[in-house]
C-alpha cells in the first residue's frame, strides 16, 4: 500500500513540476525541500549518529562486552523468538483477513476492516493491560491458569501475545488495497482453466501479491522487534528471562550504564537500517512490476 502510493507520488511529481499551472517559483521549491531535509537531519540523522557514538564512547571492548553479556543475549534471544512467532502468525492472519475482505461479501465486513486497525489506534500500553486483565493473577482466566500451572503474564507467552496484537495490522493493511485493486479476474481465469483453489492461490494470487506481502512482513518484523509499550506491561522485567531488547535497553539506561544501553540500542538501530534497505529494494521491485501492470490496461 504505502510502497505503491509513494511511488505514484514520485511519478506525479514530474507532472506537477512540468505543468505551468501547478509549478512553483524556485525559491519556494527549495525552501520546502530545505525545511524537510533540515527536519529530517535534526530529528532522525543526528539521533541515529548519537546512538552509535554513545555506544562506542568507551571503546569497542565495552561495546562488545555489553552485547555478549548473558542478560543482553537472553534479551536478543527473546526478541527473536517473539518475532519468529508473531510474524508467521500475522502472515497467515493477514493473508486470510485480506482475502476475506477483498474477495468475499459478508455481514460484518466493515467491522472486520475497522477491527484490523484497532492495534494502530489503541495505545500499546492499553493493549498490554488488556492481557494482564485477562490472563493476570487477578484476571478472568487467572484462577484457571493457576490451577493448570500455566503462566502467561510475566512470561514468554504474554510477550508473544502482546507482540502479535500490536503487529497484527501490518500484513493485512498492505494486502487489502493491493488485492482489491487487482480484482479477481485472473483467479477466475485460473479456475475456468481447471485450477483447484490451492493451485490458484499458489500460482496466481500469491505471485501477484508477493511484493506487498514481503513489504508487510518487513514492517511487521521491525515493529515486532522494536515494540516497547505493550511488551513492557506484560513482561514483568525479569532479567535474563522476560526482557526483550527494548526493555533491556531501558533497564541499562535507568542503571546509568549508558555505553551498554547504547550498544544494545545500536543493534536495534542496525535492524531498522536493514529494514529500510529491504523496504527500498521492495519498493523498487514494486515500481518495476507496477510499470508492467500499467502497460497492461
Amino acid at each position: 500500500m504505502a510502497g505503491a502510493t509513494s511511488l505514484h507520488i514520485n511519478r506525479q511529481a514530474a507532472h506537477y513540476e512540468g505543468n505551468p499551472a501547478t509549478s512553483e517559483a524556485a525559491w519556494i521549491k527549495w525552501a520546502i525541500v530545505g525545511v524537510s531535509l533540515a527536519f529530517f537531519a535534526l530529528f532522525l540523522l543526528v539521533p541515529l549518529a548519537a546512538v552509535f557514538s554513545e555506544a562506542l564512547k568507551k571503546g569497542w571492548a565495552v561495546f562488545f562486552e555489553s552485547l555478549v553479556d548473558p542478560d543482553a543475549l537472553a534479551a536478543v534471544k527473546l526478541t527473536v523468538i517473539a518475532a519468529a512467532i508473531a510474524v508467521p502468525l500475522n502472515l497467515v492472519f493477514g493473508v486470510s483477513a485480506a482475502w476475506a475482505i477483498a474477495r468475499f461479501e459478508f455481514r460484518g465486513k466493515q467491522l472486520l476492516t475497522t477491527l484490523i486497525d484497532l492495534p494502530f489506534s489503541v495505545s500499546p500500553v492499553i493493549a498490554g493491560l488488556i492481557y494482564v486483565l485477562m490472563f493476570g493473577a487477578q484476571g478472568y482466566f487467572g484462577p484457571w491458569l493457576r490451577e493448570h500451572d500455566l503462566k502467561i503474564i510475566f512470561a514468554v507467552p504474554g510477550i508473544v501475545l502482546a507482540t502479535v496484537f500490536v503487529t497484527f495490522p501490518f500484513v493485512a493493511r498492505e494486502l487489502i488495497p493491493l488485492m482489491q485493486a487487482q480484482g479477481k479476474e485472473e483467479e477466475e481465469a485460473a479456475i475456468v482453466l481447471g485450477a483447484s483453489g490451492w493451485q490458484t492461490f499458489w500460482h496466481v494470487t500469491l505471485p501477484n501479491i508477493k511484493w506487498g506481502l514481503i513489504y508487510g512482513v518487513v514492517l511487521c518484523n521491525a515493529r515486532a522487534m522494536g515494540e516497547f509499550g505493550a511488551v513492557s506491561v506484560v513482561s514483568g522485567h525479569i532479567r535474563g528471562e522476560t526482557n526483550t531488547m527494548p526493555l533491556h535497553i531501558e533497564i541499562l539506561y535507568n542503571e546509568y550504564q549508558f555505553a551498554a544501553a547504547f550498544a544494545v540500542a545500536s543493534l536495534l538501530a542496525l535492524l531498522a537500517l536493514v529494514t529500510l534497505v529491504i523496504k527500498t529494494f521492495v519498493e523498487w521491485q514494486v515500481a518495476n512490476s507496477s510499470k508492467n501492470v500499467k502497460g497492461e490496461t
Binding site: L193, N292, E296, T297
Partner: protein, 374 residues
C-alpha cells in the same frame, strides 16, 4: 456442444438482471448476445460459464443439467474483456497453465505441453511472442493469447465477454474478422457478449438481443435488422427516426398528414396510438414547394463525407413529429437536391414501421416479447 438455458432468473438486490430467460444455443454456432450495458448479457454468460449462480432456472450443456457442475468440470473456455492474463507468467506459461494444472493422471508430459502450446500460438499467429510477458504485448495480441489459453484445455464451449471492448477501433475490426475465421476453422460452439451492434452483426451466425433482463429478439443478423420484432430492437440496431401517431386504416396519422405503413400486426385497431419508425435512408426529401404531403422541416446541417450524405433537419412543431429528423441520401441524390442550410423542405417516409405505443399497451408488448423469446 449445445447449450440451453431454461427460465434463468437473477436479481442483484432490487435490480433484475435476468428476467426468466430461456434460450437455445445449437452446437457449432457463433451467437452474439447483444444489448446495452446493464441488460444482463454478461450476467447470462457468466451463469452459463458457472462464474455466477442463477437464483432459479437451469443451464443444460449437451442436454444435461449443469447447474451443480463446478466450473472446473464444465469444459468451457472463457475470454475476459480485460484479458485476465497472468501477468507474472510468460505468454508460453499462460497458454500452458490449463494443461499444467490438470490432475497428475491426466496431465500431459512437458514435451506434449510444449508442442501443444506451440500449435496454439501458431493458430493465433503469435508463436514469436512465446517468451514475452503480457505487459510487453499490445491489447490485440493479449486478447489473442487469452483466446489461445482458453483453447488449450480443448473446451466444448467458448464464451467471450466483450472480447474486443477494450481495443481501439481499427484493431477491433481486424480481430472480428479473425475471430470469425477462427470459428469457421474450429466450429466450437461460441457465445460472445457485445454492446456493439456492428460487431454482433458482422461476426455472428445469430444475434440474441437483450434489454432489461429480457430477450427481445433472436435471429440472423439480417432478420433482426430487416424485421425488428420490438421498438427496442428497431432503435438499437442503427439510427432511427421516431414518430408518434394514430392508426387510420392502412395509414398512420403523423402530424398533419396520413402516411401508409407496412405493418400487418394485429392489435392495431383504428385510432390506436402507435409509434412509427423510419431509418434515415427510408426518408425522402422533397424540395418542390408545391408538395403538400409529408412533414414540413428545415435543413439544419448537411454532412457529406463518406459514401452517403447525412442531412439533419428540424421538424415543424406538430404533435408526434420529432424535433430532429435525420435523412440519409446517396451522393447523387444529394447532388441533385443541392440542399442549403435553412432551406424549407418536406420529408416523405418511403417506409414506416409501426408498433403499438409501449406505455399505452404494456400487456401487448410483454406478450410480444415472450413469443419471440421462445
Amino acid at each position: 456442444m449445445s447449450i440451453k438455458v431454461e427460465n434463468i432468473h437473477k436479481q442483484f438486490g432490487n435490480f433484475v438482471a435476468l428476467n426468466n430467460v430461456s434460450l437455445d444455443f445449437p452446437g457449432g454456432e457463433l451467437v452474439a448476445l447483444l444489448g446495452p450495458s446493464g441488460c444482463g448479457k454478461t450476467t447470462l454468460l457468466r451463469i452459463i460459464a458457472g462464474l455466477e449462480r442463477a437464483d432459479s432456472g437451469r443451464v443444460l450443456l449437451d442436454g444435461e443439467d449443469a447447474s451443480d457442475t463446478h466450473i472446473r468440470e464444465r469444459q468451457v473456455g472463457f475470454v475476459f474483456q480485460h484479458y485476465a492474463l497472468f501477468r507474472h507468467m510468460s505468454v508460453f506459461d499462460n497458454v500452458a497453465f490449463g494443461l499444467r494444472v490438470k490432475p497428475r493422471k491426466e496431465r500431459p508430459s512437458e514435451d506434449v505441453i510444449k508442442r501443444k502450446v506451440k500449435e496454439l500460438l501458431e493458430l493465433v499467429q503469435l508463436d514469436w511472442l512465446a517468451d514475452r510477458f503480457p505487459s510487453q504485448l499490445s491489447g490485440g495480441q493479449r486478447q489473442r493469447i487469452a483466446l489461445a489459453r482458453a483453447l488449450a484445455v480443448e473446451p466444448k464451449v467458448l464464451l467471450l465477454d466483450e472480447p474486443f471492448g477494450a481495443l481501439d477501433a481499427k484493431v477491433r475490426k481486424e480481430l472480428r474478422r479473425w475471430l470469425r475465421r477462427l470459428h469457421d476453422e474450429l466450429h466450437i460452439t461460441s457465445i460472445f457478449v457485445t454492446h456493439d451492434q456492428e460487431e454482433a452483426m458482422e461476426v455472428s451466425d445469430r444475434v440474441v438481443l437483450m434489454n432489461h433482463g429480457n430477450v427481445e429478439q433472436i435471429g440472423s443478423p439480417n432478420e433482426v435488422y430487416q424485421s425488428p420484432a420490438t421498438p427496442f430492437v428497431y432503435g438499437f440496431l442503427g439510427a432511427v427516426n421516431l414518430f408518434h401517431g394514430r392508426v387510420d386504416g392502412s395509414h398512420v396519422q403523423l402530424g398533419e398528414h396520413a402516411h401508409p405503413h407496412d405493418t400487418t400486426q394485429d392489435g392495431l385497431s383504428h385510432g390506436a396510438e402507435v409509434i412509427a419508425f423510419a431509418r434515415p435512408h427510408e426518408l425522402q426529401i422533397v424540395t418542390d414547394v408545391s408538395e403538400t404531403r409529408g412533414i414540413g422541416a428545415t435543413v439544419s446541417r448537411v454532412l457529406s463525407f463518406g459514401a452517403s450524405t447525412r442531412v439533419e433537419l428540424e421538424g415543424d412543431v406538430h404533435e408526434g413529429v420529432p424535433r430532429h429528423v435525420e435523412v440519409e441520401l446517396s451522393r447523387e441524390q444529394s447532388a441533385s437536391l443541392a440542399l442549403a442550410t435553412g432551406q424549407r423542405v418536406r420529408v416523405l417516409p418511403a417506409q414506416l414501421r409501426v408498433f403499438p405505443h409501449p406505455h399505452k399497451t404494456d400487456n401487448n408488448k410483454a406478450t410480444a416479447t415472450r413469443s419471440t423469446a421462445s
